[in-house]
């Protein structure tokens, strides 16, 4: 049989080869391996990503399904330690069945050393994981300990595989339903970004390495032009809307949204604003009315802590009706998990500016980077309202007896009058401005400029803490 040379070349390139995978991550011609390729099951390298220096390692799926032994684990630990010394991002490409069985407890010890190295590096350099195939057992917790987890279509993360699940619990489930992009992207929150294929997963990792590894400087002059950000909101104040177009209009170019499908009632996006990397947090009224709940508070808290530890300033866009009420929420720990967001904002030292676009009510107002939690500045658009609760709900509570005592015929008229009084007294944004919890009312068309100036004037700072996967 005659075969052309091109076919020979294609068939001899194993896409699972760690060197092949690392080459796709780095700019062409910049890859330098840190070790000689051996049978340890891991290869590590340095290189550049759009000119940003970075360190990466990849498990070798061509050997024992990428299982990790003590030698391979040492290579990973060394790669992470080098990244910390050089203060550059470290990216892990995962395709591994976990610890090498034949090595027994020696391999377990190695995997444990990898975990310890990741925690040492946490909050000091950006750590990004790309899951390209199954990452099981110990290999599941490797990615989970890092800042951002990207999963390609063939990626799977689980602690125990379908066969063990079947024998122990009797549940019939395949690998995809157990730990594929759908369950981890939407239900568990383990994965930040899901992609169709390997190439787009690598592409997302490159974008994030550049955003976090070369953060740039804020230049307010770059956002001097008018952009009417309010044009992305509906005219009727009571109509819910998707906040993502507002986030997009705020940023210089489309950012990278993390956890897009998990807890979608809050949006967390990394992107460039006035030339610098920022983290944007925005309530999304389209989902659950934009309420904060247990999952969204936890998602936002982790994002705040990641940005704080990596020195990324925050822009917080607030349109929140409150915490989601209900038995499910209370039992789901909305108090404990909601407290994480209060803690995360209150401890954050990066510049962080808040903009109230429409409303901020009650406990959720406090949680969304309020003045009392130490916001660098809090701005509001002219139509914004900050209150303990909406005026009509407040009237029903404050004037319950008065309303009940009034003749039934007059009750609605009285209610309307009381609501109007409540709006003037406690609604709007004037009272918040008076007591200094809102610094200024700004126009939608000058918002980008004012936010950029505020972030530029604030002293750069960075939280001295790790990024525990909350």
């Amino acid at each position: 049989m005659t075969i052309t040379s091109a076919t020979v070349e294609e068939s001899t390139v194993d896409y699972r080869d760690p060197l092949v995978r690392l080459r796709t991550l780095f700019d062409q011609g910049t890859l330098r391996t840190l070790i000689t390729q051996d049978d340890s099951g891991v290869l590590s390298a340095r290189g550049e990503i759009d000119g940003t220096p970075a360190i990466a390692f990849a498990t070798d799926a061509t050997r024992m399904g990428g299982a990790m032994g003590i030698e391979g684990c040492k290579h990973v630990v060394d790669a992470i330690d080098i990244a910390v010394r050089e203060r550059v991002p470290v990216i892990g490409l995962w395709h591994s069945g976990g610890a090498r069985l034949a090595e027994g407890v020696v391999a377990l010890d190695g995997v444990g050393q990898v975990f310890a190295a990741m925690v040492r590096a946490s909050g000091r350099v950006p750590q990004i994981s790309v899951v390209l195939g199954p990452a099981a057992g110990g290999a599941a917790y490797g990615p989970a300990l890092t800042d951002i987890v990207i999963m390609a279509g063939a990626g799977r993360i689980f602690v125990t595989g379908p066969e063990v699940v079947r024998s122990v619990t009797g549940e019939q489930v395949d690998m995809e339903r157990l730990g594929g992009p759908e369950p981890h992207g939407r239900r568990s929150g383990v994965v930040h970004i899901t992609t169709k294929d390997d190439a787009s997963a690598i592409d997302e990792a490159r974008k994030l390495a550049r955003l976090l590894g070369s953060q740039g400087r804020i230049s307010p002059a770059d956002v001097a032009e008018d952009r009417d950000l309010a044009a992305t909101l509906p005219a009727e104040a009571s109509r819910a809307y998707d906040v993502k177009p507002l986030v997009k209009a705020l940023l210089d170019e489309p950012g990278v949204e993390l956890h897009a499908k998990w807890a979608p009632n809050i949006v967390t996006t990394l992107g460039r604003f006035a030339g610098r990397t920022v983290g944007v947090i925005a309530n999304n009224p389209l989902r659950l009315g934009g309420c904060l709940d247990a999952s969204s508070a936890e998602k936002a808290a982790r994002f705040v802590r990641m940005c704080d530890s990596l020195g990324v300033p925050l822009v917080v866009l607030v349109d929140v009706p409150g915490y989601l009420p209900g038995l499910g929420q209370e039992w789901d720990g909305v108090v404990r998990r909601g407290a994480k967001l209060l803690h995360a904002f209150a401890e954050a030292v990066v510049p962080r500016v808040t903009l109230v676009t429409r409303k901020a009510y009650g406990g959720a107002y406090i949680a969304m980077n309020s003045r009392s939690l130490g916001a660098t500045a809090v701005y509001a658009w002219p139509s914004a309202e900050i209150a303990v609760m909406g005026a009509s709900a407040a009237v029903n509570i404050l004037h319950r007896k008065k309303l009940a005592a009034s003749p039934a015929d007059d009750r609605e008229a009285l209610r309307a009058k009381l609501i109007e009084e409540q709006m003037t007294e406690a609604g709007g944004v004037n009272r918040a401005l008076e007591i200094g919890v809102v610094d200024d009312i700004i126009k939608p068309t000058e918002t980008r400029k004012r936010l950029a100036e505020t972030l530029a004037d604030a002293p750069a700072a960075r939280g001295a803490h790790g990024n525990i996967p909350l």
Binding site: E236, S238, R239, A240, D242, P285, L286, R287, L288, G289, G290, C291, P321, G322, L324, G326, G328, G390, S392, A393
Partner: protein, 71 residues
């Protein structure tokens, strides 16, 4: 593949916008719910044909209730 759209929270069905048999694109509004003093559009998360509408205007939906099926 059928895509079931379920209520995320307790709400009143304020308006039904789409009709069974409509061609639906991702992002199209199917019904508008009223909850938390807000009108909240329920949008399609996939392209397809609206196979079933399980709610009428004025209904109260609980979390997890079926609203529509897109095929």
């Amino acid at each position: 593949m059928a895509d079931e759209i379920r209520a995320e929270m307790v709400a009143n069905v304020w308006k039904v916008v789409a009709a069974v048999g409509d061609n639906i694109e991702e992002g199209d509004t199917l019904v508008i719910l009223e909850s938390m003093k807000m009108e909240i559009p329920v949008v399609a998360e996939s392209d397809g044909v609206l196979k079933q509408l399980a709610v009428n205007e004025g209904d109260v939906v609980q979390e997890g209730d079926l609203i529509a099926v897109i095929e």
